[in-house]
Amino acid sequence: MNEKLRMSIIYTVLSVFGLVMIVPFIWMISTALMTQSEFNKHESTFIPKEEYHVWDDGSVKQKVLFVMDKGDISIVHLLDKDGKIVEEYKEAPRSQVTKVKKVPSFHWANFLKAFKKVPFGIYFANTLYVSFISLIGVLITSMLAAYAFARMEFIGRDFFFYLFLSMMMVPEPIYLISSYVLLDKINWLDTYQALIVPWCVNIFTIFLFRQHFKSLPQELFDAAAIDGCGTFGILWRIMIPLSKPIIATASIFSLIGSWNSFMWPLVMTNRPELRVLQVGLSYFNQEASTQTTLLMAASTFSIVPILILFFMAQKQIIASYAKAGLKD
């Protein structure tokens, strides 16, 4: 097969599937910008449009009149041929409306409406709080544990390490019930601790740091020890500055993980003021199941922060996932 033809087939296939991957997002945003009645009438698919009644003004050929129904008042816009508003009248003569035209119109107010409908502000704040505290926790515990596993000698070190690793293979739904019972016993259900403390340890991150610490040359540690550096000094002055890429990777996993975590907070908390974003969104899904446009608006703003993070650091994020996958 000719090379040029092959390449164009590849690009075509990739573009078609790329479109398939992205269409749900495009549709989400365009639906979020429609009015509910427009969505229910199922008239436009991707570009939100509203019906305008066009009245051709016989004397001025370039100008058309648009009548817009806003509830019980009808507003008439006198437009030039580019569609810019030249004049505006209220209470237009409806009898002279002759044609119907569809014009794109975006209802940005849906976002505000959805945001105000349930306390999404609190949900965002909770999610940020939980995400950042657990991120700090994960970094501290992982570096300490990884240092011990990588650089210290103690009885049962490898045994404990492999015990940890094997626990990583246990999926969340399996330990969900027992964790619930445990948190119930220590009266932590329905508290911030329940959302934060169990996620302050991440075995995979320990594993990442341990592999990295092991790869650093022994001379570094010897030199530091000779210069009178203690264990914490070594960790603080040598390990951390040398671990920036791992810290970035671990932070990405931790932030994306806690931003998107759903089952755990759903089960462990009940009070509305403790709801994190995903849980709040799922309740909104039940309460506003018929208000499609608002649901789409809420879905949009709940994924925007993580998408911003993704677009800002996409190379790093994709590389982190790829590397982490290969390390297993």
Partner: protein
């Protein structure tokens, strides 16, 4: 538990999901990765687009897909309408997909051969879409580890691109395939949020009730913690068994 019909039904549903999601994911992501590996321009853009569903929250995309599968106003029925397929009921259809397919030709299948319900099939489509980007990235990394020397040698020997794919790429990327196989299997067994958000408690007629949703329902709706733990343990043994089995298999196939 072993006499509980709903337990067995959710097990069957979960098996259908895993059995379709895993191969579909592997085939599509390998295809994408092989194509991405051959292009230079726009590579980053495609990678980003494919990866986007993976980083977004399952809750938000479940809501979007639920509305996409809506019978009257959903995008799915609009799009299949463009190619002349009549509107489907998707998430509210309890009939099996094989049943629906063959009834189109006037053949009535026996009940056991109906396959997963169309509702579950809708969940399957969404689940494949969500995880595809991750697997593609993993495959892409795996492909980049294959030395160019093999392809150059094959080129000199006059092997076609298709032959190169089956004789070089596929065998040499098999460690990645095993990783993707194991990870996708484990993750698919855990599907929960889709069911919680897109269906009415695993309906219609329990045809989308998956095992983890059943654990949740038993444990936190009917508050039967003991029973839920038993189901969780069964799931654990199953996942562990499958992982061990796949690892064993890996040793036989690896190059």
């Amino acid at each position: 538990m072993l006499k509980d019909e709903v337990f067995w039904q959710s097990m069957t549903n979960t098996f259908w999901l895993v059995i379709i999601v895993v191969p579909a994911s592997i085939v599509f992501s390998l295809l994408f990765a092989v194509m991405l590996n051959q292009i230079k321009r726009l590579k980053g853009l495609f990678r980003t687009v494919y990866f986007m569903p993976f980083v977004t929250s399952l809750v938000a995309v479940s809501i979007v897909w639920k509305i996409m599968f809506n019978e009257q106003t959903g995008l799915m029925n609009t799009m299949i309408g463009w190619v002349g397929i009549e509107p489907q009921k998707w998430l509210s259809e309890a009939r099996g997909i094989f049943d629906i397919f063959f009834s189109g030709f006037g053949i009535t299948l026996p009940k056991w051969a109906g396959g997963p319900s169309q509702a579950l099939f809708a969940i399957i489509i969404m689940t494949v879409w969500k995880g595809l980007g991750y697997n593609t990235i993993i495959y892409l990394a795996g492909l980049q580890n294959i030395s160019k020397v093999y392809y150059e040698a094959a080129e000199i020997d006059g092997a076609s691109k298709l032959k190169q794919f089956f004789r070089i790429t596929l065998p040499l990327v098999s460690p990645t395939t095993f990783y993707v196989l194991i990870m996708t299997t484990i993750v698919s067994f855990q599907a929960f949020a889709q069911i919680y958000l897109m269906t009415d408690k695993g309906g219609p007629l329990n045809t989308t009730k998956l095992i983890v949703y059943y654990i949740y329902e038993k444990g936190f709706d009917t508050m039967d913690m003991g029973y839920a733990s038993a189901v969780a343990l069964a799931l654990f043994i199953l996942i562990l068994g499958l992982t061990v089995l796949q690892k064993r298999l890996e040793k036989h196939v690896n190059y």
